[in-house]
């Protein structure tokens, strides 16, 4: 894929430490985003705008009225429509220069490997442990990095897991971090505990930022680290998982 000749990316191209080489890496990269909900909406918008060459969007869910306060890709006209399809239509309008693959089916243990094998990085924007473990296991099997994002009330978590490129330590995955969790574990999600849309925006955008850092090689991504952010106090705790 060719870098756009337009000046669409000029403001990031002129950034010190970024430039055309980093933009080319974004253009040649492929990212799968599983979940186009509270976390998926903001991170998809920024990945699209930044010029990720190919984005996969997986979500089997339909837009509902109670999604609209935080899932900012959708409008009242989209209620009842599949999220992956609606997100794709919006994002291709936002940046027609990228390619988007749409998966409107649920990612399961049966299809995860076939889908995930086509991508460099997987971003977890799901809201159940069951889905997260399916994605985690496929990423471990295929040796793909996995960017975790999750919310609990006013707090959020971000981590870069299963990342092995240019890292001398053993890649750590979600089952290593929480070994006693099973797919049947019932953890509260946003439907039960509530959430402010801005926190989804902050955590989803952090996930997008980690993806851009991994691809371009800038900065220090949260490899084998867990970041916890408290939106009420703005406190951030980063712990080493190894």
């Amino acid at each position: 894929m060719q870098i756009s000749n337009s000046n669409r990316y000029i403001r990031q191209l002129i950034l010190k430490g970024f430039g055309a080489a980093a933009q080319e890496k974004l253009t040649n990269s492929t990212i799968l985003v599983v979940g186009a909900g509270g976390l998926g909406c903001p991170l998809l918008q920024y990945l699209t705008a930044a010029g990720i060459g190919t984005i996969g969007i997986a979500d089997f869910d339909k837009v509902s009225l109670s999604n609209l306060h935080r899932q900012i890709l959708y409008t009242a006209n989209d209620i009842g429509a599949n999220k992956a399809e609606k997100a794709t239509a919006y994002l291709l309008n936002q940046n027609p220069e990228i390619k988007i693959n749409t998966y409107s089916e649920k990612i399961t243990a049966e299809n995860a490997n076939d889908i995930i094998m086509n991508y460099d990085i997987v971003i977890d924007a799901t809201d159940t442990i069951e889905s997260r473990l399916v994605i985690n296991d496929a990423c471990v099997h295929l040796n793909k990095p996995f960017i975790l994002g999750a919310i609990h009330e006013y707090q959020g978590q971000v981590a870069v897991l299963n990342y092995s490129h240019n890292v001398k330590v053993k890649p750590i995955n979600y089952r290593d971090v929480f070994p006693d969790l099973t797919a049947q574990a019932k953890l509260p999600n946003c439907e039960e505990t509530g959430v402010l849309g801005v926190l989804c925006g902050i955590i989803g955008t952090m996930q997008a930022n980690e993806a851009i850092k991994l691809i371009t090689g800038i900065g220090k991504p949260l490899i084998n680290q867990l970041l916890t952010y408290d939106s009420l106090t703005n406190e951030i705790l980063i712990v080493d998982l190894l």
Partner: protein, 75 residues
């Protein structure tokens, strides 16, 4: 010796966001004391970090920063 513990997510709903615990010298004794004071924690999955590192049975020093970190699920 008093140790200050920071709790996050669903763990904080049981313990509060910050609390003190006395006479714990390592992770094992911390867990025993936590489960004694907050029996509801026995059913919870959480990591224990000391000075920003996940640990299994490290010594807790006088000024250690201890945090209890459960998995979050919402998205």
């Amino acid at each position: 010796m008093q140790t200050t513990i920071l709790s996050f997510g669903s763990i904080a709903e049981i313990t509060g966001k910050s609390f003190n615990i006395s006479d714990v010298s390592d992770v094992k004794s911390l867990k025993i004391k936590l489960f004694e004071i907050y029996p509801a924690l026995k059913n919870k999955s959480f990591l224990i970090s000391i000075d920003k590192k996940i640990v299994t049975n490290e010594t807790i020093l006088l000024h250690s920063t201890v945090a209890l970190l459960p998995p979050f699920s919402g998205g």
